[in-house]
Symmetry: C2
Subunit: 191 residues, 2 copies
């Protein structure tokens, strides 16, 4: 018998992507399988393969969503302040977005782990996007090194958490986040 989920809160495609992210975080990128994703999302395997015809296309979609999501959130936060966003404003908001820990966003970076484990070639896309970002922050008044070091520290915190390597308490984390935002702001001033 054919049983449709009672009012699925999200369209299946989104549920599948969420499930994939969460699976990576909770079981490790090596255990991201099509069966597991489908089950976790409450969709049949056939249903999954309807939306993502191969595992690669699932990985691509995960990365795509992650990248777009970050960009969109930065844009939203900048827009909230009104006027055309300055580069330093964008940098600062990006730092904030990446360090956000609201449950719906926490899992997003898992796409990076999944892609790097399964199909490292997909990372090229992310690398290009990162490169463009580096080119932008290099023009900040504080100079390339200053901004790049702040961005690296943000990466270190985020990636460390994704890999479950980060040993900081939530108190320490708050202090570090505060320090990072301040450091990002200072990249906007002449050194």
């Amino acid at each position: 018998m054919y049983f449709r989920n009672p009012i699925p809160s999200q369209p299946a495609r989104e549920r599948l992507l969420d499930a994939a992210d969460r699976l990576v975080l909770e079981t490790g990128a090596g255990h991201l399988t099509l069966d597991a994703v489908a089950k976790f999302a409450g969709v049949s395997k056939g249903g999954l393969l309807y939306h993502f015809p191969s595992k690669d296309s699932l990985l691509e979609a995960m990365l795509e969503r992650y990248l777009n999501d970050v960009e969109a959130q930065v844009a939203t936060r900048c827009a909230r302040r009104g006027g055309a966003p300055t580069r330093i404003e964008q940098f600062r908001e990006r730092v904030r977005v990446l360090l956000e820990l609201r449950p719906e966003r926490r899992a997003a970076g898992a796409a990076l782990l999944a892609a790097s484990a399964d199909k490292p070639a997909l990372m090229a896309h992310c690398r290009r996007s990162y490169r463009e970002f580096v080119d932008e922050i290099a023009t900040l008044p504080g100079g390339f090194e200053r901004a790049a070091l702040v961005q690296l520290a943000v990466d270190g915190l985020v990636l460390g958490e994704l890999l479950q390597l980060s040993p900081y308490t939530s108190g320490e984390r708050s202090r570090l986040v505060k320090a990072l935002i301040k450091a990002a702001d200072q990249c906007g001033r002449m050194q």
Copy 2:
């Protein structure tokens, strides 16, 4: 026919661990399989399982070697300077060691990716070891935030490279490494 590698430069155990590291870097942690490791190291599968009776034990050994290796290199570099190493000296040398790119060391961090992909529980060991390190640098004259931020930036660079996310040219990288070593040194001074 039985073909022994002409004068195996290393004992099989080491060759296997090297092969595992390199496989992770070159094909992604998801493609780390026992057959592939054995083949890559020029050892039979039976031989691999003689040294590492399960995949988990291979992963544990990879992590163990990585952690010991870093510690040993820091100690060596400090010893070369003579006298009991100060905390700031250790921190500085650690930063240097982690950012080293000599071919034999480049692959070592791959253990982190492999463990996190296959058996995230193994990361607990690394996290503890990282925690001890954080507790030490927190007592530097520059204070907790300053040192932790430098360490995070080092992590960001290293992990970014492991994930093939890092977009920096070798020129940019050198500038960043120099800046990081300088920043580490400054953690030894009162702010």
